[in-house]
C-alpha cells in the first residue's frame, strides 16, 4: 500500500486502489455539484425552482437539517468536556468531523442561496441586531471556525504528521484548550440553533410558523435547540454504524452507541413533550387568534397534508423516543438504529415544514396554496455537500485515528 505510513497504527484499511475508486465516485458527484454551483453563481437563482412564493426551499431545508443533525458535535463535546462523560471520547472525533462537514456544507449552501454572494459579508459589517438571521450568520461562521479548530488537532494526530515534534506539541496544546472551545462551541451552537428556530417563530405575518412563547420568545427558539440535540447524537451514532457497515470493521462499541441513543432518547422525550404542547397551543390559541383553523393551514392537494405533522410527531417523535428511552428496546440493535433513523427523519420533516409549508400556506384569504418541487440544480448542489462529507469523512477515517476503540474491537 502506497500510503501505508500515513495510516493510523495497527488498523486495517482497504487497498489504496479501492479507496481511490471510492473517492473518484464521490468526486464525480462533487464535480457535478460544482457545476451546479457554477450555474447558480453565474446565471443567478433563476436556475433553481425557487420563486416568489418559495423564497426558501430545499437549500434552506437542507441547511437547517444538516445543522440540526450536526449538533452531535457540540453536544457530545459539551457532555464530554464540560459534563465529563468519559465514554464519549470514543466517538467525539467523529462527532466533531460530522459537525464540521455539516457546518461547512451549510455555509456553502447559504452562499449559493443568497442572491448576492459577493455581499455575504454585509452580515458582519452592517448587522441588524434585531434579526434572527444576523445571529445565525454570526454564530454559524464563528462556530464553523471553532469546529475547524477542533478538527485540526485530529488531523495533527496523523501518524506521519505527529512524528514532527512541533506538530505533536501543537496538537497537545490544542487538546488542552479543547474544553474551552467545546464551551464556546456549545454556546455558539445553542444560540444559533435557537436563532434558526427563532427565525420562523418571529414571523408574525406567517401563521404557520409564528409561535408565541411561554418563557422563551419565540418558542421555536427553544424547540429548535432541543430538537437538534435530540437528533445530533443519534445521527453521529448512525454515521458511525454506517461506516462500520461500509468498512466492515467495528469502530465503536455498542455500549457507546447505546449511550448516544440514550442521550438522544432522553432529549427527544423532553422535546416531543414540549413540541406536542406547542402544537396544541398553536392550534387552539395562536391560529384562532389569527382567524385561522388548524385545518386551514394544511392541504393535502398541495402536498402539505396533516400526515406530515402526524409523521413528524408520532411516527418520528413519540415512537423513537420510547424506543430510545427504554433500555430493553435500546439493547436491540435493529430497534436502536430504527429509532435513530426515525428520530433524524422527524427532525428533517420539522425543518422542512417550517421552511416550505410556511411559504406555501396562503395568508391572504384570496390567495391560494402553492406547491414547490426543487429542480436538479438544487438537488445536485445539496447532494454535492453529502459527497463532500463522504470524501472528508473517508479521508479522515483512513488517515486519522478517529476511533480509539477500533484496534481493541477488531483484535480477533
Amino acid at each position: 500500500m502506497i500510503d501505508k505510513e500515513w495510516l493510523p497504527e495497527g488498523v486495517q484499511r482497504c487497498s489504496f486502489g479501492k479507496f481511490m475508486i471510492w473517492l473518484a465516485i464521490w468526486g464525480a458527484i462533487l464535480l457535478w455539484g460544482v457545476y451546479g454551483m457554477y450555474l447558480v453563481l453565474s446565471k443567478g437563482l433563476v436556475t433553481t425552482n425557487l420563486n416568489n412564493y418559495f423564497g426558501f426551499g430545499l437549500w434552506i431545508t437542507f441547511d437547517l437539517a444538516v445543522i440540526a443533525l450536526g449538533a452531535g458535535a457540540f453536544f457530545s463535546g459539551f457532555l464530554k468536556y464540560i459534563v465529563g462523560i468519559k465514554e464519549l471520547e470514543n466517538i467525539i472525533n467523529l462527532a466533531v468531523i460530522v459537525g464540521f462537514i455539516c457546518y461547512v456544507g451549510a455555509m456553502l449552501v447559504l452562499v449559493l442561496d443568497i442572491g448576492q454572494p459577493l455581499r455575504a459579508w454585509f452580515g458582519y459589517w452592517h448587522p441588524n441586531v434585531h434579526s434572527m438571521l444576523t445571529e445565525v450568520i454570526f454564530c454559524i461562521t464563528c462556530y464553523c471556525t471553532v469546529l475547524l479548530i477542533e478538527y485540526i488537532p485530529i488531523i495533527l494526530e496523523n501518524r506521519k504528521l505527529s512524528q514532527n515534534l512541533f506538530i505533536r506539541k501543537l496538537a497537545h496544546n490544542f487538546h488542552i484548550f479543547m474544553p474551552l472551545f467545546a464551551g464556546v462551541g456549545t454556546f455558539l451552537s445553542c444560540f444559533h440553533q435557537g436563532s434558526l428556530g427563532g427565525m420562523y417563530g418571529v414571523l408574525f405575518g406567517r401563521p404557520f410558523a409564528y409561535r408565541e412563547g411561554f418563557f422563551i420568545w419565540p418558542w421555536t427558539f427553544f424547540l429548535f435547540v432541543v430538537s437538534a440535540i435530540a437528533s445530533g447524537p443519534a445521527f453521529t451514532m448512525l454515521i458511525a454504524t454506517l461506516m462500520e457497515k461500509i468498512s466492515g470493521r467495528k469502530l465503536v462499541s455498542y455500549d457507546v452507541k447505546m449511550l448516544m441513543g440514550k442521550i438522544a432518547g432522553s432529549l427527544l422525550c423532553f422535546y416531543i413533550f414540549f413540541k406536542i404542547l406547542d402544537t396544541w397551543y398553536w392550534a387552539t390559541v395562536t391560529l384562532p387568534k389569527m382567524g385561522l383553523t388548524f385545518d386551514q393551514v394544511f392541504n393535502n392537494n398541495a402536498g402539505f397534508g396533516k400526515w406530515l405533522l402526524w409523521t413528524e410527531i408520532g411516527l418520528c417523535g413519540v415512537i423513537p423516543a420510547i424506543l430510545l428511552i427504554v433500555p430493553k428496546f435500546r439493547r436491540i440493535p435493529v430497534l436502536l438504529y430504527t429509532a435513530a433513523i426515525l428520530d433524524c427523519i422527524g427532525i428533517v420533516i420539522n425543518r422542512y415544514v417550517f421552511t416550505v409549508q410556511t411559504c406555501a400556506a396562503p395568508v391572504l384569504p384570496f390567495d391560494k396554496w402553492h406547491s414547490y418541487t426543487p429542480n436538479w440544480v438544487e438537488w445536485i448542489t445539496s447532494i454535492e455537500i453529502i459527497a463532500f462529507g463522504v470524501i472528508v469523512l473517508s479521508l479522515s477515517y483512513r488517515y486519522l485515528p478517529l476511533f480509539p476503540q477500533e484496534r481493541q474491537l477488531n483484535k480477533s
Binding site: Q116, L118, R119, W121, F122
Partner: protein
C-alpha cells in the same frame, strides 16, 4: 544565508500579517461588492432636464390626451393630460406604455421590399417610385384602422382621386352605428353624454374596460350622479365596478333592448319616427317578455325593473355595442337607438347626442358614405373574383390577425398582386405585404383625433412629434401626398401638417393651442330631420340560434387590441387565469363545464367557422351559463418574443352572418362546438 523552509513560511506569515494591515483585502472586498451594483449589463441612468409635452394617444380610437414626460430630449413616460377632456389625467394601461413602444423589438426599422419571401431594405425614394408605378396602372384599395384621424381622410381622398371607392375602415361599432344612424335618416355621429346622465344602461358595450372612450367613461363613472348598469355575458371589469351586472347571452343585447322597449311602449312611451305604429306593433307582438327572456337569459322581472328604472331616471342614457367592440349589426344599434328615442333623451343633456362631422380633404367621401363600405363584403368579392384589385394599402391596421374568417382574408390577400403595409410594427399583415413602409410611432409624427366614438362632446386634439423617429420611418399621409404629387394628383395640401392646420381652423381652433395640449371642445349637437325605422332590421333578433355554446370574446386594454399586440410592459399584467405558459385559458362556469364534461385545466378545442381554437379550461363563475369566454389579443404569429406563440386567436372561430336588411356582417353572436382536445 539561504532561505530555508521555515524561513519561507515566516516570510509568508509576515506577508500575510502585512497584507492585513493594508487596504488590499478590505478595499477589494468592498469594491467587489460595489461592483455587484454595476454589472455591465445594468443600464446607467441618463440624467437631464425634465419637461412635459402634450400628445394624443393613437394606440386605440379613444383619443386620450397624453402628457409625455421627457428627460433631455428623450421621452420617458406617458401620463394622462390632466387638461384633456377625454383623459383628465388618467390613461389606460396601453396608453401608458406608448413611450416604451418606441423601442419595441417588433418595430419595422425602415422601408422593406418583399423579394420572394425575403424582406430587403430599400430607400424611401425607391418605395415611392415603386408604389407610384403600381398605382398609375392598377386599381387600388385601402384598409385603414385609424377611425378618427385625418390620415384616413388623406388616404380616402387620394383613393377617390385615383378613381377608386374601395376605402374600408376596420370593422367597429363606430362604423355600424354610423351606418345604422344614416339609414334611419339621422345626421351626425352618435355620442353619449355620460357625464350628465343619472342612469347609464350599457347593453353589451364594455364601457369601463375596452369600449369607446374608455378612460373618459371611467372618469365619468367615478363622478357618477346615479346608477350604472352593465348587461353582458361576462363579468368584466365593467361588471365588477358598476352597480349591477345583468347577465345576457352574447350578442343578444339588442333583443334585451327591445324587451325593455316593450315595457316602455306598454307604458305609453312613443317617438316621432316614420312607421312608428308598425314598429310598435311589431315589438309588442314579437318581443314579448317571454321571448326576450328565452333569447337573452334575462328574467322577465329584471327586464321590467330596468324599464321602470329608465323611465324614473331624469336623464337616462342607453349605450349599446358589441361586448368586444366589433361585429355588432344594424339590429343591435337600431334597437338601442329606438330605446333612447322612446326615452326621449336624444340630443338631451345626459342622453344620446349627435355630434357634427368635419372634413377638410375635399376629394374624401363623407363618413356616412364610408360607413357603407363593409370590409368583409369587399374581401369576399375579391376572393370570388367579383372585385379585381391590383394594389392594396393597409394603414394602421392588422386585418390578417383581427378579422373573423381569417382564411378568407388570407385568400383575398393572396388574390391581390401588390400589397403595401403602412405599419409601425412587424405584424401579421405587414409580413404578408410586398412593401412595408414603416409608419412612425405616433410620438414621432403629426397626428390628430377628431371626436372619438362614444364621446359626448366634439373634441379635436392634435399632436406634434415628441421625438425624431428612432427608426427610418416616414409619416404615411406625408408619403401619400408625395406619391399623389408624383402621380399628378392634387389633394390640396403640401403636407399632413397643413391638413391638420386646415382641420383646426375648420373646427375653429388655434393650431398652436391644439399642439400645446389645449384641446378644442364643443357641445354643439346636430339637429335631426324626421327619422325612419324599418321592421325588417328589427326582425333580425328573432333568428333562432344555432346549436352550440355561446362564444363571448373579451377585450381588455392591457391585452392589446386589434392593431397593437400585447406590449412588453403589459406582459406582467396578464392574469394567471388568462394564460399559462403558452396556453390560453377559456373561461366557463361550473354548470357549463359540467354540461360539457370539462374539468379545470382540460385542453379543449373550440370549433367554429370551420376552424379550431385551442385552449385550456378555467372554471370561473364570472361567465354566464352556456357561454364560453375567451380573451382577445392572443395567438399572434408575428411581432416579437413578448407575444409570439402565446395562446390562440379567437378571431379564427368567430362565425360571420350577413344581416338581413343591412347587408352588414355580424359576428358578435358566434357559437362554437366545444370538444376535448
Amino acid at each position: 544565508m539561504g532561505l530555508d523552509r521555515r524561513g519561507f513560511i515566516t516570510f509568508l506569515v509576515g506577508g500575510a500579517v502585512g497584507t492585513l494591515c493594508t487596504p488590499i483585502p478590505w478595499k477589494t472586498l468592498d469594491d467587489v461588492s460595489i461592483w455587484s451594483q454595476n454589472w455591465p449589463w445594468i443600464p446607467k441612468l441618463q440624467y437631464g432636464k425634465r419637461s412635459q409635452v402634450a400628445s394624443v394617444c393613437k394606440l386605440c380610437p379613444a383619443g386620450c390626451g397624453l402628457s409625455i414626460h421627457k428627460v433631455g430630449k428623450r421621452p420617458v413616460v406617458a401620463q394622462g393630460n390632466s387638461t384633456h377632456p377625454l383623459s383628465e389625467g388618467g390613461v389606460c394601461p396601453l396608453g401608458s406604455c406608448s413611450v416604451r413602444l418606441l423601442y419595441r423589438p417588433a418595430r419595422v426599422k425602415g422601408p422593406l421590399k418583399n423579394n420572394n419571401g425575403k424582406f430587403e431594405p430599400i430607400s424611401w425614394d425607391e418605395a415611392r417610385r415603386i408604389l407610384s408605378e403600381k398605382l398609375s396602372s392598377g386599381k387600388a384599395a385601402c384598409i385603414s384602422g385609424d377611425e378618427n384621424g385625418s390620415a384616413s381622410e388623406v388616404l380616402a381622398g387620394f383613393l377617390s382621386l385615383l378613381g377608386s371607392e374601395d376605402f374600408y375602415f376596420m370593422p367597429s361599432d363606430a362604423q355600424v352605428s354610423a351606418y345604422t344612424w344614416s339609414q334611419m335618416g339621422g345626421k351626425g355621429q352618435i355620442g353619449f353624454d355620460l357625464e350628465n346622465s343619472d342612469y347609464v344602461l350599457s347593453l353589451g358595450a364594455d364601457i369601463l374596460s375596452s369600449w369607446g372612450t374608455v378612460v373618459r367613461n371611467q372618469k365619468a363613472f367615478a363622478t357618477r350622479k346615479g346608477k350604472y348598469i352593465y348587461a353582458g355575458p361576462v363579468q368584466t371589469g365593467t361588471a365588477a365596478a358598476v352597480d349591477e351586472w345583468v347577465p345576457v347571452y352574447p350578442g343578444q343585447e339588442g333583443v334585451l333592448a327591445l324587451g325593455i322597449a316593450y315595457y316602455l311602449l306598454k307604458m305609453g312611451k312613443g317617438a316621432t319616427i316614420d312607421g312608428f305604429s308598425e314598429v310598435k306593433n311589431f315589438v309588442l307582438s314579437k318581443y314579448t317578455p317571454a321571448v326576450v327572456e328565452a333569447k337573452t337569459g334575462v328574467k322577465i322581472n329584471k327586464i321590467k325593473q330596468l324599464a321602470q328604472e329608465l323611465v324614473a331616471a331624469g336623464s337616462p342614457c342607453v349605450i349599446i355595442g358589441s361586448d368586444f367592440g366589433q361585429g355588432s349589426g344594424s339590429f343591435d344599434w337600431t334597437s338601442g337607438i329606438l330605446l333612447n328615442l322612446l326615452l326621449g333623451n336624444v340630443n338631451k343633456r345626459g342622453g344620446m347626442v349627435l355630434l357634427p362631422e368635419v372634413k377638410v380633404v375635399e376629394s374624401a367621401p363623407s363618413r356616412a358614405s364610408l360607413s357603407k363600405n363593409v370590409l368583409g363584403e369587399f374581401l369576399k368579392n375579391v376572393v370570388s373574383g367579383n372585385k379585381k384589385i391590383d394594389v392594396l394599402m393597409v394603414y394602421d391596421a392588422n386585418p390578417i390577425y383581427a378579422l373573423p374568417q381569417a382564411l378568407q382574408v388570407q385568400e383575398a390577400f393572396s388574390k391581390i398582386p401588390f400589397k403595401v403595409g403602412f405599419s409601425t410594427f412587424l405584424d401579421e399583415t405587414a409580413v404578408m405585404c410586398d412593401l412595408i413602409l414603416p409608419a412612425p410611432h405616433f410620438l414621432e409624427r403629426y397626428d390628430d383625433a377628431y371626436t372619438p366614438f362614444g364621446s359626448g362632446k366634439v373634441i379635436y386634439s392634435v399632436a406634434a412629434p415628441v421625438i425624431k423617429p428612432v427608426v427610418n420611418a416616414k409619416s404615411t399621409p406625408d408619403f401619400i401626398l408625395e406619391v399623389a404629387k408624383s402621380l399628378k394628383k392634387d389633394l390640396g395640401y403640401k403636407s399632413f401638417e397643413d391638413v391638420l392646420k386646415a382641420k383646426a381652423s375648420a373646427v375653429g381652433a388655434d393650431f398652436e393651442d391644439l399642439l400645446s395640449g389645449r384641446t378644442k371642445v364643443s357641445n354643439k349637437w346636430v339637429g335631426q330631420n324626421q327619422l325612419r325605422l324599418s321592421v325588417e332590421i328589427l326582425a333580425n333578433g328573432l333568428v333562432p340560434d344555432t346549436e352550440g355554446t355561446f362564444l363571448a370574446p373579451v377585450a381588455r386594454n392591457y391585452l392589446g387590441n386589434t392593431t397593437q399586440a400585447l406590449t412588453p410592459t403589459e406582459v406582467v399584467v396578464v392574469r394567471d387565469s388568462e394564460l399559462k405558459g403558452r396556453d390560453l385559458y377559456v373561461q366557463v362556469n361550473r354548470t357549463t363545464a359540467k354540461k360539457l364534461g370539462l374539468k379545470q385545466g382540460d385542453k379543449v378545442k373550440l370549433q367554429g367557422a370551420g376552424r379550431e381554437f385551442v385552449g385550456r379550461v378555467n372554471i370561473t363563475e364570472t361567465v354566464m351559463d352556456d357561454t364560453i369566454a375567451v380573451p382577445l389579443g392572443f395567438g399572434h404569429e408575428a411581432w416579437d418574443e413578448y407575444v409570439r406563440g402565446k395562446g390562440d386567436n379567437v378571431f379564427k372561430v368567430l362565425s360571420v352572418v350577413t344581416e338581413k336588411g343591412s347587408g352588414f356582417q355580424v359576428w358578435n353572436k358566434s357559437q362554437v362546438k366545444v370538444v376535448r382536445a
